[in-house]
């Protein structure tokens, strides 16, 4: 069967060489789609969590990410913390039922990480929020208005250095040891 297919494609191309470029375009697009290296369509979070609704309901960043001021990692809210409110509030929504499921089974929610920094980079939220005088939105974008969290920028070295090299009164911020140890 394959040889006939090959013959038919050959005929299709031979009739007008311009079609060769068409065929090539199709192949390339297919490869790109499959490899997923095209711009990510959106993270596959295990649960539909909408920041916008939470923020409009008056929940602050620090309420859930409560380690942000005292530890390098901001800390992910534990399932218990979610259930603290959602045992009663909007308990009938499907997403909340899904949450209650996780809690009942004593299983952690496998969130897909949105902002990623390689493991040889040491970033400290504590320092950036307090001494750095920054705010969550500076790096994570206006999460308060996002239905599903999207990375605002690829957190690469150049991106960090843009800010760090602007700190004229703290030139040591360009030291390698600030992030690599």
């Amino acid at each position: 069967m394959f040889s006939s297919l090959w013959w038919r494609v050959g005929r299709f191309v031979r009739t007008s060489p311009a079609r060769l470029f068409l065929l090539a375009g199709v192949v390339v697009a297919g490869a790109l789609a499959l490899s997923g290296s095209a711009a990510p369509a959106g993270t596959t979070q295990p649960m539909a969590f909408n920041h916008q609704v939470m923020v409009q309901a008056g929940v602050q960043c620090l309420f859930c990410h409560n380690d942000a001021l005292r530890s390098p990692s901001p800390g992910m809210p534990s399932v218990g913390l979610c259930m603290g409110c959602h045992k009663t509030i909007a308990a009938e929504r499907p997403a909340i039922k899904q949450l209650a499921d996780y809690y009942a089974r004593g299983e952690p929610i496998p969130w897909a990480r949105v902002n990623y920094v390689p493991r040889f980079v040491y970033f400290s939220h504590k320092v950036h929020l307090t001494a750095g005088g920054l705010n969550c939105e500076n790096c994570h974008g206006d999460v308060g208005h996002m239905k599903e969290v999207e990375p605002v920028a690829r957190m690469s070295m150049g991106w960090c250095l843009d800010c760090h090299s602007k700190q004229t009164n703290a030139p040591q911020l360009r030291d390698c040891v600030i992030c690599h140890r």
């Binding site: 960043c61 040889f120 307090t130 001494a131 920054l134 705010n135 703290a170 040591q172 690599h180």
Partner: protein, 258 residues
Amino acid sequence: MSELETRLLDRGPSAAAAPKTELPSHKWTMLIDLDKCTGCNACVVACHVENNVPIRSEREVIRGHGQHWIRIERYWEGEGDAQRATFLPMLCQQCSNAPCEPVCPVYASVHSERENLNLQVYNRCVGTRFCGNNCPYRARQFNWFAPQFEGPITEMLNPDVTVRSGGVMEKCTFCVQRIRRVEEDALVEGRPLRDGEMVPACAQTCPTSAIVFGDRSDPQSQVAQRLGGQREFQVLEHLGTAPNVYYLKAGGSDGGAG
């Protein structure tokens, strides 16, 4: 609520304000009293655990691939009854004029003016090993093979320190992860660093307190006060590398000056 939390609660992107507190610079120095070093290797094991330094197998040690960020060099001197051995703990001397920095082609071995340390950026190193050759103290250790941490031993790796891959040079960094953590705490609390707050793993576990660590730019620090005695010397001073590790000569008369 502190002023800080109020600022965070109004949830707007605040201009990237310049950090309030000035980033202080330090002259980290280590003082090793050879009169007290008993060669017990506690510092060597403590350094391995703190900095995720891999332990190499017998075959690797035979071929000279043993990796220790700090090693006890034992030299024999004298003859017969006057037979003596001295223990010389040898680690990266954090030279201020480090011979390993100019030779690295990719800026993996760089100098930190603020910490007055010689840094080794593991993820930047491409493994030409020029720095290893040019270090007269042979304080730089190369990962000849990728390290293997079998089974649950990976659980005891220190998350503050990068676990190096094969083909990368590594060396004592004066436990820079501890220095950074202590500095970050001081920075956040807006206070200067206290002497003795920063102790590397080897100094903390040395039973005889032979290793003293501190910032010699602070005159009240333990290190600054004990520098300048007659017994003080530096290894290979004549090479002009200006090391930041000072040694105190061992021995001397039993009633003599310290």
